[in-house]
């Protein structure tokens, strides 16, 4: 009996599986991927995750289809004899295809990732001198908010509102926000999940990240860097509110925290607290 063309069969099965699964992944699963649409940066990350998942779907299907085909077509029903197939060496066409396809995929992802990163920073921390600024970052309407981490909480300063410091993070909707993330002790990481923002909080360093808020929502704030015994409890929730609500809220906080305002150091991009008297 003539041996069928297994390669052609596998490719055919794989193509059919790709034609069914890839559109489902891209158009059905894609819009539900994290971190959601809480900000322009978060929406961009959903697109990126969809692209990556859409690209990896045919690759995963190739493995699965070949595995399933091999289980069915190459099953040896006579286990008394252990056999192995002939070694395949020097197949120039297969090697060329393998190198060519993987090179194209890797280079595409490198270029795509770089372009996306340079498009406003994608919500990531860029250090003290960011190069990937969103459009409008230099127009003067950006809201600066400082994120101060310490074991084990975040506090927030608003330099354009008298440098008031608060326990919770409120942001106005539809506004470009420039986050300045720093730490007073060890390395933390500020992660506003639904806003798609993640920036390391390093002591003595001003780490800048941008976020363009959208509709009002409540978002989670977490530390994403293992920072000590209570790292797992270093979480809070923040809110994106309307501009009017934000103005009202910040005015209330300025009244609430007026007693401590005189004790705060002048606003600075980073702080170097004096060593504690009992530090070792």
């Amino acid at each position: 009996m003539k041996e069928p063309n297994h390669f052609r069969r596998v490719v055919l099965w794989w193509l059919v599986a790709c034609l069914i699964a890839t559109p489902l992944v891209v158009f059905v699963l894609g819009p539900t991927l994290p971190p959601g649409n809480g900000s322009e940066q978060a929406s961009g990350q959903v697109v990126d995750n969809t692209v990556l998942l859409g690209l990896s779907t045919p690759i995963a299907l190739a493995v699965i289809v070949y595995f399933a085909y091999a289980l069915i077509a190459f099953r040896d029903r006579d286990p008394s004899e252990v056999r192995d197939g002939p070694g395949i060496r020097g197949h120039a066409a297969a090697q060329s295809w393998w190198i060519g396809v993987t090179t194209v995929i890797v280079l595409f992802l490198a270029v795509y990732g770089s372009v996306r990163m340079l498009d406003g920073g994608s919500g990531g921390g860029q250090g003290p001198n960011p190069i990937a600024k969103p459009a409008g970052a230099n127009l003067g309407s950006t809201l600066q908010v400082q994120v101060i981490a310490q074991q084990w909480r975040f506090t927030f300063r608003y330099p354009s509102y008298g440098g008031v410091e608060t326990n919770t993070l409120y942001l106005p909707a539809h506004r470009l926000v420039e986050l300045h993330v720093t730490s007073l002790d060890v390395i933390h990481s500020f992660w506003a999940y639904q806003l798609g923002v993640k920036a390391d909080a390093n002591p003595g360093v001003d780490n800048v990240a941008y976020v363009e808020t959208k509709q009002p929502l409540t978002f989670d704030v977490r530390c994403a860097e293992l920072c000590g015994v209570w790292h797992g409890y270093m979480f809070d929730s923040g809110r994106v509110v309307t501009q009017a609500q934000f103005v009202s809220w910040i005015a209330q906080r300025r009244v609430q925290y007026a007693p401590v305002q005189k004790s705060l150091p002048p606003y600075s991009k980073s702080y170097y607290p004096d060593p504690q008297r009992r530090a070792g």
Binding site: Q150, G228, V229, S263, R277, R278, A279
Partner: protein
């Protein structure tokens, strides 16, 4: 039963056993909670609860870490000191807290937390005097329950105190500050509390040892 059938059965049994063990581990992890001290929290006639605590520069000499700074709970009746940092409190109840503060001044890395938050009327008393803030450099410790916004600075005794307490247990004739405040417990649950002053003497920047070990400068509040 053939060899392959026995192997398959063995594999299935192994998978079930591993699955049960993993499930048991997860269940125990999710349902376990630390032991707690409830004796120090006593109900008053007004339906509130009184909690007495103390902070000391060093634990009792027979403690596993006798040089570590620590919180204690103090029984209101017998004045018995108990080295426990997990307290059991009733839900949705006003808790009056009195802290006997025997430790010295360390200072705050973030002066913002020198203002009390999350407590009734927004103020506490320091040696009977109502206050909202203290000098950040004079802070010894912070009593904070971040999940419910409670944070109270604890004033440290001066460096030139005449009769400081070196190790727990201390007595009221020794130099101390008395800090009192009231907060309302939330619904049932487990809430962590902690000190925010890096007060661990002998550790880099004061962040190690008792700051990183539950049972000294931090613990849980079991709200039941």
């Amino acid at each position: 039963m053939s060899t392959s059938s026995r192997r398959l059965a063995g594999l299935l049994v192994a998978i079930v056993v591993i699955g049960v063990l993993v499930g048991l581990y997860i269940a125990l992890y999710l349902t376990s909670s630390p032991g707690s001290a409830s004796a120090a929290a006593t109900r008053t006639s007004a339906g509130t609860v009184q909690l007495y605590m103390a902070t000391v520069a060093a634990a009792e000499p027979n403690d596993p870490h006798p040089t570590w700074v620590s919180y204690y709970v103090v029984d209101s009746g017998s004045r018995h000191w108990q080295h426990a940092t997990t307290f059991e409190l009733p839900a949705n109840t006003l808790v009056h807290v009195t802290v006997y503060q025997y430790d010295g001044q360390s200072g705050l890395r973030n002066p913002f937390i020198s203002q009390a938050t999350g407590i009734v009327a927004g103020s506490f008393t320091l040696n009977g005097k109502p206050m909202q803030t203290i000098d950040p450099d004079a802070a010894s410790h912070i009593f904070a329950i971040p999940q419910i916004g409670v944070s109270v600075p604890l004033y440290g005794i001066p460096d030139d105190a005449k009769n400081p307490c070196d190790n727990a247990p201390c007595n009221l004739s020794q130099d101390h500050a008395t800090v009192s405040f009231t907060f309302r417990t939330p619904g049932e649950g487990l809430y962590r509390w902690q000190c925010f002053v890096p007060c661990a003497a002998g550790f880099i920047d004061g962040f190690g040892g008792p700051m990183q070990t539950i049972g000294y400068m931090d613990g849980y509040i079991k709200v039941v």
